[in-house]
Each structure stands twice: as structure tokens, then as C-alpha cells.
């Protein structure tokens, strides 16, 4: 991702999600979203999320605080330390390029639980 894309995506996320904050962490730009909503049927219905924008990667990394249960079962997931904090990771092959928006990225990643 180019530096321009990182700046654009950071601004988009802050605009789209109320209370979103960003921080530089080494080469990464981290954007914390206080609340993202899972698709209907998930439990819990929402959680905190983190978007990591890395200039060496083609698309952002997405982390959530809690992995929801869908239809009573929790999908496979792992944990990762990002920005010194513990986040949940999961695998989802979202077709996203720098031409798309940050909102499309976040909401697309959350479709994993639909």
C-alpha cells in the first residue's frame, strides 16, 4: 500500500466509524474502531476492531476483540499481539484492492460471520 493510500484509508475509517482513533506503531498505521457490527445472528452483535495498515502489504490486516458465535459455534480463529495488545485473527479471503474504500474492507471482512 502506498503512503497516500494509508493516509486516505485512515481518514475514511475515522470518518465512517464514530470514535475511531489512529496511532503510528513502527511502520504500521493502526486504526482502532470502538464498535463494528457483526451480521445478524451473531453473538455478541458487535465488538471492537483494529485495522493495521502496513506499507509492505497489498491490503490491510483486520483484527477483532471478540470472535462471535454464529449458529451456536465459534469459527476457527487465532490470537495476535498488535500494538502491544491482544487481538483475535481469522482467515477470510476478501477481494479488496487499494481502489476500494476502507468501509468496504471492514464491512467485507465482517461478512465472514454471515
Amino acid at each position: 500500500m502506498t503512503q497516500e493510500s494509508i493516509e486516505r484509508l485512515t481518514a475514511e475509517l475515522k470518518e465512517s466509524y464514530r470514535g475511531a482513533v489512529s496511532a503510528k506503531d513502527g511502520m504500521l498505521m493502526l486504526v482502532r474502531l470502538p464498535e463494528v457490527h457483526f451480521p445478524p445472528g451473531c453473538q455478541p452483535e458487535s465488538t471492537e476492531a483494529l485495522v493495521a495498515l502496513d506499507p509492505t502489504k497489498p491490503k490491510p490486516d483486520f483484527y477483532i476483540r471478540v470472535v462471535p458465535a454464529t449458529r451456536g459455534t465459534q469459527p476457527q480463529h487465532g490470537t495476535a499481539v498488535v500494538g502491544g495488545d491482544n487481538w483475535c485473527t481469522y482467515s477470510f479471503n476478501l477481494r479488496w484492492t487499494e481502489d476500494h474504500t476502507a468501509l468496504q474492507f471492514v464491512e467485507g471482512m465482517l461478512r465472514r460471520f454471515a
Binding site: S22, D25, M27, Q76, A80, G83, G84, N86, T89
Partner: protein
């Protein structure tokens, strides 16, 4: 305040360099918050050029307003705070001068206006002490309650040193392993986190208790199982019968060894939040975990908060990994002490992205837990004694960090259990290591 070894090696000679004015070095700092207080982490040093200084009567050193602005712009851009370091020669118990205090009271609030989210400070270093004033984020009160920790050639030094009689200090300098006043007090003041309370971790913890380490934080989420009994002597049949958590069972054992030692059980997995919070306040972390992913997490947390990290691990390697009845080709272990500013597990190639992906079965790392649980179906092995060797080496490294009885820690110890030998492998810092440049002393991100 914590200073990584590579920065201390620059800072200490620079502030003592004779010159026209009192040498000044600026530290760009991040920070982290623990229940015990705020940790200030020196991330980078800035040596002002001679042209930055102006002659001023009554001041040891004075620099131009233009230089101040350039420095503040840089800290703002990087999301860091500023700590001014200088040195007063001669006195062991160093004091702030009236001019030092007046300057700090003027400059630090001005720095805070520009970068309010990070701490700022002014520190004067002496031969074996440090003092100064710090202005913490969201505070308008300057505090003088500071201790400075730096990492020397394999050991940890904290200024101000605890008070001791001259004869006790002399004895400690000459015979640091003698259990006398200075050594006892350094061990009693230390907090060591032990992560993974199975074969290696339990034996590390019991040895630390015998040494009189003040607080041991034991981190493990699992319960004692039959497999643990052949890997360590720290658990017994009753622990299995009662289905006790490892951390809870170990607390009882530690109490019987040394009831003055505080054992804090943390029933959590790394990197769960309770584990991270406990690790942040440790003086050293000893990782006794059985996978690379946890090592990577521990190395990350240790580097972020400038904590020495000692890693141990033991592996049994069959000739044919796919044959459950294969003969053993090797039983080998590793002990490596990573001191902030020195080489890390990534520098040495012990951790690589390829190895982490391979460990996760070449799937996304989120599937690691499943992969590991499949790999762990092998029956338990009788490795209590081998784990004991590695535990003893790790505790010796912790002693070296706290008491400094040996010249250096810049080696990785490789244990060959079949021959019963230990080889020392020299390790070097990789100047291109991304973890050392991006994570070391990064502290908590500054959200805005």
C-alpha cells in the same frame, strides 16, 4: 525509565564528553502504564550539533529556540516525548542544580503543550545514580520519583542503587554470588515472570524461589495432567486428582520452598490481556513455551517494554517424523537470553516468518491452535532431567542479569541431551532486524 543497551552505549560516553559546554543528549521516548507506575522507554537518542548551542552565563548548556522547535517537530511527527539527559561528575549521589530545576520547570510544560500524550523529562546522571524531573501525560505536576534502568553487557543496572554499606558493596563487586546484603536485596527487589508452567517453567520457578527472588509471576492457563509428572518434579498425583491449575498448584510448592517469595498465578494464555498486563511489570521474562508463535508473542511484548527475555525450549526429534515408532535422532534444547538493545530471536534467525507459517501447517496463523493440538498427540516423554538442565541454565542467565557475575550473555546455549554437552553459539544483532527497529521500546501506541 528504561534504556536499551545499544542506546546506553552511546548515551553514557556522550554525556561525559569534555567540551566547551555541559554535553546534553535528548532521548525520544514512548511509555507504557502498569499498576506500579509509568514506564518511560527511550526509543532513540538525538545528539545536538555544536551549532545548536549558544553561550549563556549561569547555564551549563543552552541551546537555541530554533533547535528546540526542530526537535519538537520531530517528536510530534514520531508521536514521542523528550527527555533531556546530562551528567554531573564526581558525586555518587547526584543532585539537580538550581539551574537544572528552573530549566526543567520551564521546558517540560512547553514540551507537553506540543506533545501532550507522552511523558517529558530532564535527567541528570551521576556515577551510580540518577535524578531529575518528569512530567507525565495528563498531569501538570512534575515528579522526582524516578529510577533509571539500563542494560549493560549482559546485566541490568538500576539507578539509584539501593542503599548499602561500602563493605557490602565491595563484597558484592568482588563476589556477586555470595548470598550477602547487596545480592539478597537485588534478588528480593526483582520480579520475574515465568511463562509456561510445564517441565521447564516449573523447575525455573522453584529455583527462583530458592534464590529468594521477590516476586515470581507464573503464567499458564492449563491444568496439571499425567504428562506433566514425567516432565517435572514440581507436581504430584494429588494435583491431577484435584484437577488443579498449574499456576495454582505451583503456588503451593513455591510457598513450601520459600514463603517470603510472592508467587502471583496468572491463569491465562499469552497473549491474553491478563498475561500481557502481568508481563509488562516484570523485570525479566523467562519463556518456557513449546511453540514458536508464543515465543514470537513473548519477544514482541518483551521488546516493546524493554524487558530482558530468556527463552528455553527442548525438542525430541525422530529420524522419521511421520513414523510414530521411529528412533530418536536428537534431543536438543536451547537457552537464549535476549537483552533489550542486543540480538533478539528474530536477529538470530531462531524466529522467521517461514518457520511460523510452517508451524501453523502452512495455513493461516489463525489455525495454529488446531495444528498444535494435532501435533501434541504423541505420548509424554521422560524429560524431567533434560528440562532441569535447561531450567538451571535459564536461572543462571537470570542471575547474571540481576547480579552480573559473568562477562556477557551474547551467546545462545545449545544443549545436546544425547551427549550431555552444551555448546555456545555466538549471536549478533542484525542491523536490518525489523523487530529491533519497529518494536523495541515502542511502548503503548499513542492513539489520537
Amino acid at each position: 525509565m528504561r534504556v536499551p543497551s545499544h542506546l546506553w552505549e552511546q548515551l553514557w560516553p556522550e554525556v561525559r564528553r569534555p567540551g566547551e559546554h555541559e554535553p546534553v543528549v535528548f532521548g525520544l521516548v514512548s511509555h507504557g502504564v502498569t499498576p506500579r507506575g509509568t514506564i518511560i522507554l527511550v526509543r532513540e537518542l538525538v545528539m545536538p550539533p555544536p551549532t545548536a548551542f549558544v553561550r549563556a552565563a549561569g547555564h551549563g548548556a543552552k541551546w537555541t529556540g530554533a533547535y528546540n522547535i526542530a526537535l519538537l517537530n520531530e517528536t510530534l511527527e514520531r508521536g514521542l516525548g523528550i527527555v533531556i539527559f546530562h551528567y554531573h561528575p564526581g558525586r555518587a549521589d547526584v543532585q539537580f542544580s538550581g539551574d537544572d530545576e528552573a530549566s526543567a520547570r520551564q521546558l517540560l510544560p512547553a514540551f507537553q503543550v506540543v506533545a501532550p500524550g507522552r511523558p517529558h523529562g530532564s535527567i541528570v546522571l551521576g556515577e551510580s545514580s540518577a535524578t531529575g524531573l518528569i512530567l507525565l501525560p495528563n498531569s501538570s505536576t512534575l515528579t522526582g520519583e524516578i529510577s533509571l534502568r539500563f542494560f549493560g553487557d549482559g546485566n541490568v543496572v538500576t539507578f539509584p542503587r539501593s542503599k548499602a554499606k561500602p563493605e557490602d558493596l565491595l563484597l558484592h563487586r568482588r563476589q556477586p554470588l555470595v548470598a550477602a546484603a547487596v545480592s539478597k536485596s537485588r534478588l528480593k527487589d526483582a520480579t520475574i515472570a515465568v511463562v509456561g508452567l510445564s517441565g521447564g517453567g516449573t523447575q525455573v520457578a522453584t529455583q527462583l524461589a530458592a534464590l529468594g527472588v521477590g516476586e515470581i509471576i507464573g503464567i499458564d492457563a492449563q491444568r496439571v495432567t499425567g504428562d506433566n509428572l514425567v516432565a517435572t518434579d514440581a507436581f504430584g498425583w494429588a494435583d491431577i486428582l484435584l484437577s488443579r491449575r498449574k499456576a495454582t498448584a505451583l503456588r503451593s510448592k513455591i510457598w513450601w520452598i520459600n514463603r517470603r517469595v510472592r508467587f502471583t498465578p496468572v491463569n491465562a494464555l499469552v497473549p491474553e490481556r491478563p498475561a500481557i498486563e502481568a508481563l509488562k511489570r516484570a523485570d525479566a521474562v523467562i519463556g518456557c513455551v513449546n511453540n514458536l508463535k508464543s515465543r514470537a508473542d513473548l519477544q514482541e511484548i518483551a521488546w516493546r517494554y524493554c524487558i530482558p527475555y530468556i527463552d528455553i525450549g527442548l525438542g525430541l526429534y525422530p529420524l522419521d517424523p511421520d513414523d510414530e515408532l521411529s528412533e530418536i535422532a536428537a534431543i536438543s534444547g536451547n537457552v537464549f537470553a535476549a537483552v533489550p538493545g542486543g540480538p533478539c530471536l528474530w536477529c538470530t534467525g531462531f524466529l522467521t516468518q517461514e518457520k511460523l507459517e510452517k508451524e501453523a501447517g502452512n495455513a493461516n496463523r489463525s489455525y495454529l491452535r488446531t495444528t498444535l493440538s494435532q501435533n501434541n498427540r504423541r505420548p509424554a516423554a521422560y524429560v524431567s532431567s533434560f528440562n532441569g538442565v535447561l531450567a538451571a541454565l535459564a536461572v543462571s542467565d537470570a542471575l547474571q542479569l540481576l547480579l552480573g557475575y559473568a562477562p556477557s550473555l551474547s551467546v545462545r546455549k545449545q544443549y545436546d541431551a544425547l551427549s550431555g554437552t552444551i555448546a555456545e553459539i555466538a549471536v549478533q544483532k542484525n542491523p536490518a532486524c525489523p523487530k529491533c527497529s519497529d518494536v523495541l521500546a515502542a511502548g503503548e501506541p499513542l492513539w489520537q
